[in-house]
Amino acid sequence: MYSITSREDLASGIYLFKVEAEDIAKKAKPGQFIILRMDDKGERIPLTIADWDEKTVTIVFMEVGKTTQKLATLSAGDSIADFVGPLGQPTEIESFGRVIVVGGGVGIAPIFPLARELKRKRNTVISIIGSRNKDLLFWEDKMRSVSDEIIVTTDDGSYGRKALVTQPLKEILEREKIQRVFAVGPVIMMKFCAATTKPFDVKTMVSLNPIMVDGTGMCGCCRVEVGGETKFACVDGPDFDAYLVDFDLLMMRQRAYLDEEKKALEMWEKSCPKS
């Protein structure tokens, strides 16, 4: 059992847990993820490592379905049955020069350790973080602390600039030469980020989030197409060159269990009415 040492409600439906997992904390690098299984009947779900210290690993998750909603009922002192990692390849981080990191929605969490490491490697870090509205935004301060410049956007203009993240992205690329772009967030956002940077031909890395089971290369559930080749996101990724990724296929594979997910969620909500 892995115990939750603290919980923070970061934004509407977005939660942070620090989980005691010393082995994983010692090894964690930006871009890697863990897989957890809440209890004996639970599903294995992947979550990116958003931070770590000597003994704990921080995860940030958004309530979307049964598992994440169940997870959100836990608090400090509770524990999670299984917690394994760090999985996947770490993000390739060098001294590139000037870089842009884009975090959309819950994708702001994984972008933080990445930006911090980029900064540590003496890059000039320009961060763009965006969410649908003000209630969903978090970690602006943390991101500011590791960025040379930060732009905050909301879709509805309730905070920061009313824009999609791709708009400031385009403006910066028009303004100056950038050596690398990293984008993490919903697939559709990553797809449009790729389309935005493409005309400027700046190497753009995205972190893919297909459905996974084991996370160790054993099942092939997480397969994605990159440059016409099949890759297993859990072991070959999750980071890939955005210009080579088949985003439409990824979105279709993510929807493979929509009916089942709906059913599971309805049953859960019925058995445990939320206040």
Partner: protein, 468 residues
Amino acid sequence: MPEKLNLNRVPMPRQDPKVRRGNFDEVALGYTEEQALEEAGRCIQCKKPSCKEGCPVNVDIPEFINAVRENNMREAVKILQSKNSLPAICGRVCPQETQCEVKCNLAKKGAPIAIGRLERYVADWGRAHPEVTAEREGQSFSIVDKKVAVVGSGPAGLTCACDLAKLGYAVTIFEALHIAGGVLMYGIPEFRLPKEIVQSEVDYVKSWGVDIKLNQVIGKTKTADEILGNGFEAVFLAPGAGAPMFLGIPGENLSGIYSANEFLTRTNLMKAYLFPEYDTPIKAGKRVAVFGGGNVAMDAARCALRLGASEVNIIYRRSKIEMPARAEERENAEEEGIIFRLLTNPLRFIGDDQGRVVAVECYEMELGEPDESGRRRPIRKPGTEFVTEIDTAIIALGTRPNPIVPSTTSRLKLTKWGTIITDEATGRTSRDEIWCGGDMATGAATVISAMGAGKRAAVSIDSYLKSG
């Protein structure tokens, strides 16, 4: 030899195919006491029991059968467990017809003793009488002050760990998944090998003081080198050969197309057949096509049927004789209504606008001259393409070694197939303090061969640590 040989092998009672295709309960029901005594009574207790030569873990076959004949089950359990830590598993899934039973002196007469079935009977009796196996309680473990690590808790890892623990070593198994057992737990379906039985044999291994640490991906959470730097004096690598192969044809990444590993893992390990009580979903659909002709294909097809499919086709490019699946499993599948489409090969998958598979295009094959494997090579018959509608496809082409362990362990020599170069007799690798065995050393093989490798490695590790 006695005057008259009894050549009437006692058949195994099984669930009716019409009933069992609708449930996940065990297909083979096991002998009754009467049946076990009758079958054991047929054994002629040969002076030269050649049956033993066929068993990779050297089970004392005539001895345990004799104990059964005398109705001394306590003794039978002890004899069995002295060589085999997982007898209830072996009695169910060993390919006995090519192992011990083929060597039985009565095999020539077409009626070898049903060694596997008797082994299963004895092991199940032992499970029902835990006081017999619990006799060790109070005994102190770890009498040798040396720590050994085992990577992977499949049959190879469990066997090696248990044998070393019995010798008094402090053994820790590091397992990547959240449950111990390897393929026994995630691959082989409940109706062939109930998970409760695997669990109880894992518990037996633990009862010897073996510590199993779950959720440890060696190569990620820590490496084999780090384990060695941390007080362990030897490591046995047994991570299996778990990486699935695909066909490499167009449309293979559409939704609804599974590797057999994913399909079986969802079903068995994650218990998707009990969805939504369990959270992991699976979509078997109504029309299922399984590609491949081995045991794994049979297991996937039979699971699909039990998950509610109305038509399950096994599509295999050669003919029935070349099928690598055990005859017994093929017959079980046929009885349950699985359709075999032989000499057929897929060309491409066809999807709808949602990216879901809706059909597969195949062509027919015919058999030509024998190839290097001695099997007749299938050749494409031109102009035979046809399209079949399907909801789900399962690719059961086999697996290869997962590179995580070999690629993160320093100075290990590998073969071109990615397996770790290992001395078969001892399990030694190119590094002094590292041993390897099971599917990672041989490529996908069998439970009993993995166990045999675990046993031989335990002997070698013991002599290395004693001399060192």
